[in-house]
């Protein structure tokens, strides 16, 4: 039984100084616990931290082969025991009044540049949509699309994560803006909207357009810049 019914009296007639020390003294248990917990937490961090970081990176990284090579090829390569060399970059571009940074992953197979994966995010229908976009080395065609995070309406907007819908983007030419249309794609740069979720469809397409628009130049430049490096 804790003696909690007693009112805590500060040490009788003590001077201010001793009282001040009193606060600390009374809290000795807090201090001890703080010390122990702080130290042990740091220990936890040091033990688990790398794993967490790895998880974070891998989340993106794992998708890269599929995005640049397509699912079948990616599997084949994995079966062959070959691994892609993936190098992350941050590319910043300056737009009027704003500086935008993109995470870009450079995918190499046997020292050969086989494609890019861009990570981009933006406002969807309900919340942020985060996606990965695979491009060929010259950034001319889209090789894959993957939605990392979204909170679109279940049953409607969240159909953007279905493969059937994402497939439409593959092999699209980056030279023209993609346009969302309602039913039945005709032109090459048209994407079918999801029934009842035009906004989500447009949001994804818009993100893709913007990302390509922003990065195409730099990717091309980088690809050519890297070429000589490879030759050396």
């Amino acid at each position: 039984m804790v003696k909690q019914n007693k009112i805590i009296e500060p040490e009788a007639t003590g001077m201010l100084k001793s009282k001040k020390r009193g606060y600390i003294l009374q809290a000795w248990l807090v201090l001890t616990l703080a010390l122990c917990f702080g130290a042990s937490l740091a220990g936890v961090q040091l033990t688990l931290g790398p794993t967490i970081e790895e998880n974070k990176i891998n989340e993106t990284r794992q998708k890269v082969p599929e995005l640049v090579l397509g699912a079948e090829k990616a599997q084949k390569i994995e079966e062959q025991g070959q691994a892609l060399f993936i190098e992350p970059h941050t590319i910043s571009i300056e737009k009027p009044g704003k500086k935008i940074s993109y995470s870009v992953y450079e995918a190499r197979l046997n020292e050969e540049l086989i494609g890019w994966v861009l990570k981009t995010a933006g406002q969807g229908y309900a919340d942020k949509i985060e996606l990965l976009l695979g491009l060929d080395p010259q950034a001319k065609t889209i090789t894959g699309l993957f939605i990392l995070e979204q909170k679109e309406t279940p049953g409607l907007g969240n159909k953007i994560i279905t493969e059937a819908w994402r497939k439409q983007f593959i092999n699209k030419d980056t030279g023209r803006q993609l346009i969302v249309v309602k039913k039945g794609t005709k032109a090459l740069n048209e994407i079918d909207a999801i029934t009842g979720a035009t906004i989500s469809s447009r949001a994804v397409t818009g993100l893709v357009n913007t990302a390509i628009g922003d990065l195409k130049g730099s990717l091309v430049a980088k690809a050519s810049h890297n070429q000589p490096t490879k030759d050396e």
Binding site: Y125, T153, P154, G155, L156, K182, T195, G196, A197, T198, I199
Partner: protein, 325 residues
């Protein structure tokens, strides 16, 4: 207890009661509900004309399942079940008219059960509900079965009924920028929820309700006034828009909502001033949602939001008593 009372005097039997001893027998709550049903007749007829058996089916489903729900829930509360007050009928018809004709059968059934159960009985039955039951039911299915209730859910290009093969006017404009003619919006041969297509029918029924004073004129007036103002502002800001103030007024379920849904006395404020504020609020929310939200239409959400605010409006619009400073 009354049957235990022994009649002490023989003829004439005198009984006692509090004042006043006269009452205006012109109006009963039952009569008010019947008024609403009468006012809905033109809307129902238009719906039957435009949507044929789609409308008939939806009405049948909603009425049958609302009655069933009323019966089941009243039994659960061990209260006498009676359809005599017509409140379940009104809820059922309004609910059916606010659904798309193409909606699958379970939409109507679930909406009815939610409307009666969560919308009404859980609050204690007739006269106690905070929210408009029909709108609670509709909101539930709207969110639950988004694909069946979203704009595209209204369309069925293979349908034999003309109206259903087109896109709804609001959706057609939002998606492709095609404006529907005002006369079509007024007379109603367009696609949409069963009851909303014909502005004409809504106005006829609505005026009847207002004239009978079953619905307070303040609410529709407030709704229409604020929609006109906000739509006007939107048009001024964006003058190229083909969707004018009149389109906003006649299109979508605005008039149906203003006359039949918002005027539900139970879930609207008590005083004339409060009713006007309520109407203005609904109009403002409708325009906010129409212009900015992902949904093409905002009447249902606007009504629910203002229903939620009704207790506060009531609180802030306690009328000034005679002689109060």
């Amino acid at each position: 207890m009354a049957e235990n009372i022994k009649k002490i005097k023989t003829a004439p039997v005198i009984h006692v009661a509090p004042s006043p001893h006269l009452s205006s027998m012109a109006l009963t709550t039952r009569r008010m509900m019947i008024d609403v049903v009468i006012a809905l007749i033109p809307v129902v007829l238009t719906a039957l004309y435009v949507f044929r058996w789609y409308a008939a089916k939806q009405l049948f489903i909603c009425i049958a399942s609302c009655f069933a729900a009323e019966m089941i829930f009243m039994k659960m509360r061990s209260k006498a079940f009676s359809l005599n007050d017509y409140s379940a009928t009104v809820t059922a018809i309004i609910l059916a008219l606010s659904l798309p004709g193409t909606a699958p059968w379970y939409v109507g059934v679930i909406a009815s059960f939610v409307a009666i159960g969560i919308g009404k009985v859980i609050f204690g039955g007739v006269g106690m509900n905070i929210f408009n039951p029909a709108m609670v039911g509709r909101a539930f299915v709207m969110i639950a079965f988004a694909s069946a209730m979203a704009a595209s859910g209204y369309e069925d290009s293979a349908s034999a009924v003309d109206a259903i093969t087109q896109a709804t006017p609001m959706d057609a404009f939002k998606q492709t920028g095609i404006t529907t003619s005002l006369s079509a919006l007024f007379w109603g041969p367009t696609n949409g929820s069963l009851g909303e297509t014909s502005a004409f029918a809504c106005i006829i029924g609505g005026l009847y309700l207002c004239m009978r004073r079953t619905a307070s004129w303040e609410i529709p007036t407030g709704v229409i006034a604020s929609v006109v103002v906000f739509a006007g502002i939107a048009n001024l800001v964006n003058p190229q828009s083909q969707w004018t103030v009149l389109h906003h007024l006649l299109g979508g379920s605005l008039l149906f909502g203003a006359f039949f849904i918002a005027t539900d006395p139970v879930s609207s404020p008590l005083t004339p001033k409060g009713k006007f504020i309520f109407g203005i609020g609904i109009g403002a929310f409708i325009m906010l949602l129409r212009l900015f939200s992902g949904y093409p239409e905002g009447v249902m959400f606007a009504v629910l939001l203002m229903n939620a605010l009704t207790p506060l409006i009531n609180r802030w619009t306690v009328p000034r008593a005679l002689g109060e400073q």
